[in-house]
């Protein structure tokens, strides 16, 4: 219709997923500025708390981004988060282990869950939905088994009566805010995870292979890409990030709740999708997921600032997810 090359370039920029995701975020921010709840939207504390709140979901979304780019899905992240919350609380609160031992072990638990899902999917050709659904149920079971169905917290009943254990310094640190009380430590953990996943995708060979496998698995295989290894790696990383989120969860809640993380996987998927990463695989990036996390975080924050109840928040969030995805798909 319009052959002007300058117009053409503008149209291409407008069609970029990054631009569209940013635009969605800006619209949300404008809404926040409009409904600022008597100025509370303009205070840094509001943003700081939002970032702290979204961090655990964001960490899960880092792994989810890798998995979705390979064309898969990981439903198990919420349960793995719960499992690791329990094990980390057990190791560090109940048994008082040094975090230098406890943290690597906890990460190993998450990694093992991811590798198992990944192997089922890539070697045994179980559909990602089914394999990770099974892992979701299984990991929740293990969390309940280990904890005996109770929350692992500082209070312990022994034969001598009720004992109140020390809260580990490592958890205190994770739960703290630093840089003049301006940033939560878990937010920095989230950022580190995002940078790590982003580098893997953009700067390392396995990351490129993830795009290739998600974009066209058969062409990737015929080009010599180790498809099975690539897929397994994506789920392994997802398990690892879920474990990191699980440790943060235990620190923030000062306990290991075997029920923790229920439905978190759905929030993580929503973050990735709102960012504009394609559920069909092959397209997307960590930057998009970061924007998606901010979009979801601000949306919830603004609604709660304006005293919209949980019922309304959920309904509106569902609506926004569809709107965002339709918006991004248009004109593509």
């Amino acid at each position: 219709m319009n052959d002007n090359p300058r117009f053409d370039r503008l149209r291409r920029i407008l069609a970029q997923p990054f631009f569209r995701a940013t635009l969605a975020l800006v619209i949300i921010l404008c809404l926040g500025a409009l409904f600022h709840a008597e100025g509370s939207f303009f205070r840094w504390e509001t943003h700081r708390d939002m970032l702290r709140h979204i961090s655990r979901y964001g960490i899960l979304a880092c792994g989810m981004t890798l998995v979705i780019i390979t064309g898969g899905i990981d439903l198990a992240v919420g349960s793995v988060l719960g499992l690791v919350a329990v094990t980390s609380a057990l190791f560090m609160i109940h048994w008082g282990w040094n975090p230098l031992v406890a943290v690597p072990l906890c990460l190993l638990v998450g990694l093992a869950c991811g590798v198992t899902s990944g192997t089922l999917i890539s070697r045994f050709r179980v559909q990602p939905f089914i394999a990770t659904l099974a892992m979701m149920v299984f990991a929740r079971g293990v969390a309940k088994y280990i904890s005996g169905g109770r929350k692992i917290s500082q209070g312990v009943e022994t034969a001598d009566g009720y004992v109140y254990l020390d809260f580990p310094g490592f958890f205190n640190f994770l739960n703290a805010r630093i840089l003049g009380d301006n940033v939560a430590v878990v937010t920095l953990v989230f950022l580190a995870c995002a940078v790590g996943a982003g580098l893997l995708l953009a700067r390392f060979r396995p990351g490129r292979y993830m795009y290739a496998v998600g974009g066209n698995e058969e062409a990737a295989r015929l080009s010599g890409v180790p498809v099975a290894c690539t897929k397994t790696l994506a789920y392994a990383m997802s398990g690892l990030f879920a474990a990191i989120a699980g440790i943060c969860q235990a620190a923030q809640e000062t306990q290991g709740d075997p029920e923790a993380g229920g439905s978190y996987e759905l929030t993580a998927i929503a973050i990735v999708v709102i960012g504009g990463t394609n559920l069909m695989g092959g397209r997307g990036s960590m930057a998009l997921t970061l924007i998606g996390a901010l979009t979801i975080g601000y949306l919830e924050k603004i609604l709660s600032l304006n005293a919209v109840g949980e019922a309304g928040r959920l309904m509106l969030t569902g609506f926004i997810i569809v709107a965002a995805v339709l918006f991004q798909r248009s004109k593509q």
């Binding site: 060979r205 990351g207 490129r208 974009g215 066209n216 990737a220 010599g224 890409v225 397209r283």
Partner: protein, 511 residues
């Protein structure tokens, strides 16, 4: 003169401006088997899709049972008695024979319940008529491919089909199954049905046909009674096109043998009992182009795929690459051994459409271009720039997604990817398919350049002039076996095509 069931006249069809059928005609009498012959891409399938109501936009007229008609949909065509027996059977294996036969036309009672027993009885009667020993209540999947095909025919008859189209029905059948199919066809003819039969097998054509119609390059060439159409004429009709396109092959300077096959075999990837490639032997030297001639089901494609490790470790026989034993295992393994494959389906198997031109070109060479696992965008860009120049890839920016490129440029990107892997042997499956004339000639020139630099090429192409002009040697394959070998110059289109159709022995063309 038997009743005329069908008359198609002046049929034309174009896809996005490209004409694939022009002024084609075909008629079918009751009780005859009418063979539709032609090379790959001659337009047979398109014509049959028009007949089946799959393509509803076309030029020309279809007259059915003496009345002009125009189908609005496949269901419409089926209702008027046209049925296609597909190569890929359209039965649901887990459902019973009778449920399959009455699928979507279940015999329902007034309240909507199924008249189960009536269906079973009708089904049994139908199968009896065809002489197929099948239990109506057994699942279709329990029977062999041959029996399933008979069930499919029974299904067509249950729809009261009078015109049956069979597209290479014997390609998946064993010898006794073929015999039974021919008996079924004879009984269909006696019942007054007309059969349009597509085949690439010379023996079969002359055994089953009453009349033969030949298409070539989307045009109607002629129709003749079988007995009045000698094999030589049939082949000439099928080829006929003048060698107008100038394709040059520089004088080759073959070096040492780089790829040697001895009794190379590949089992059928779809699991049929007959091997798809059966004890093929050849030796390919550096700088040489070996052409593989073959029609559908010849095994040429399975041969190159098997060699590249597409099917895994299932191949038999001996393969040597530069004298060292090589056992195909996976594409990654083949690439490490210096063997690359250009697939004939670039959309499905060749390219990752969502990735950029650069990333597609570097994909198969990443172990070399990203030392230590760290991506080096600079190295990749340099490589892509060089290939872009050498292959004359026309693209505004190498960062563009491959999906946005034209067919010819996409094909060049796929070729660039193969070359970036620095192969010693390059297997080319239809390198000029879906490519415009300009890009075609670019690719011909490139093939000369590659062989001059010492790469050995194996070429599969369905375009006879291309095969004859570019190949230094040609092997003709039929049903997985080599039927003839030709040196450059000794090959004529007629001889190569006849060998590809399996009629070498006892024939004038034998060398």
């Amino acid at each position: 003169m038997p009743e005329l069931l069908l008359e198609m006249t002046g049929i034309g069809k174009a896809f996005s401006g490209q004409t694939v059928l022009e002024d084609v005609r075909l008629d079918l009498r009751a009780g005859e088997t009418h063979v539709l012959a032609g090379e790959n891409g001659a337009g047979k399938s398109t014509l049959m899709r028009i007949l089946a109501g799959i393509y509803t936009e076309y030029a020309g007229t279809i007259t059915l049972y003496g009345r002009e008609t125009r189908f609005g949909s496949p269901q419409d065509a089926a209702r008027q008695g046209i049925s296609i027996i597909h190569q890929e059977l359209s039965l649901i294996p887990s459902m019973t024979v009778s449920d399959n036969i009455f699928l979507a036309r279940e015999q329902a009672g007034p309240a909507g319940w199924l008249r189960f027993h009536r269906e079973r009885e009708a089904c049994a009667a139908l199968l009896d008529r065809l002489g197929v020993p099948v239990k109506p209540g057994a699942p279709v999947g329990a029977y062999s491919i041959g029996v399933q095909q008979s069930i499919e025919i029974a299904k067509a008859l249950a729809f009261e089909a009078r015109i049956l189209v069979m597209d290479e029905p014997t390609s998946a059948l064993t010898e006794p199954e073929v015999e039974r199919l021919f008996e079924v066809i004879a009984s269909l003819k006696r019942a007054g049905c007309g059969i349009i039969y597509i085949s690439h097998k010379m023996e079969e054509i002359y055994r089953i046909a009453d009349r033969i119609t030949v298409l070539r390059d989307g045009r109607y060439i002629g129709t003749e009674d079988r007995d009045r159409l000698p094999r030589e004429t049939l082949v000439k009709w099928m080829i006929g096109r003048p060698m107008s396109e100038q394709i040059f092959r520089d004088a080759p300077a073959p070096g040492a043998p780089v790829l040697e096959l001895k009794d190379f075999s590949v089992p059928d990837p779809a699991g049929r009992p007959r091997p798809a490639v059966d004890r093929v032997s050849f030796s390919l030297r550096r700088g040489e182009i070996l052409g593989l001639a073959g029609l559908q089901g010849s095994g040429a494609e399975v041969l190159v795929n098997g060699l590249y490790g597409v099917y895994g470790r299932i191949t038999g026989g001996e393969v040597r690459v530069d004298g060292a034993p090589y056992r195909p295992g996976s594409p990654a393994h083949a690439l490490r051994q210096g063997i690359a494959l250009l697939s004939n389906d670039r959309k499905r198997e060749g390219l990752v459409p969502s990735m950029s031109v650069t990333h597609n070109i570097s994909l198969a060479a990443l172990p070399r271009l990203s030392p230590g696992g760290l991506l080096r965008e600079g190295l990749e860009r340099q490589a892509a720039e060089a290939r872009k120049k050498a292959l004359n890839i026309r693209v505004a920016a190498l960062t563009r997604e491959v999906a946005t490129l034209s067919g010819g440029n996409q094909q060049k990107v796929a070729l660039a990817k193969c070359l970036e892997a620095q192969p010693r042997v390059l297997l080319l499956n239809e390198p000029t398919r879906g490519v415009d004339v300009g890009a075609k000639h670019d690719i011909y020139a490139l093939m000369n350049a590659w062989t001059a630099s010492g790469i050995a090429l194996v070429l599969i192409t369905s375009e006879m002039p291309e095969l004859l002009a570019l190949s230094d040697r040609i092997l003709a394959l039929h049903q997985g076996r080599v039927t003839a070998a030709f040196d450059r110059g000794a090959a004529t289109p007629e001889a190569v095509l006849a060998a590809s159709m399996g009629s070498v022995k006892g024939n004038d063309y034998e060398r």
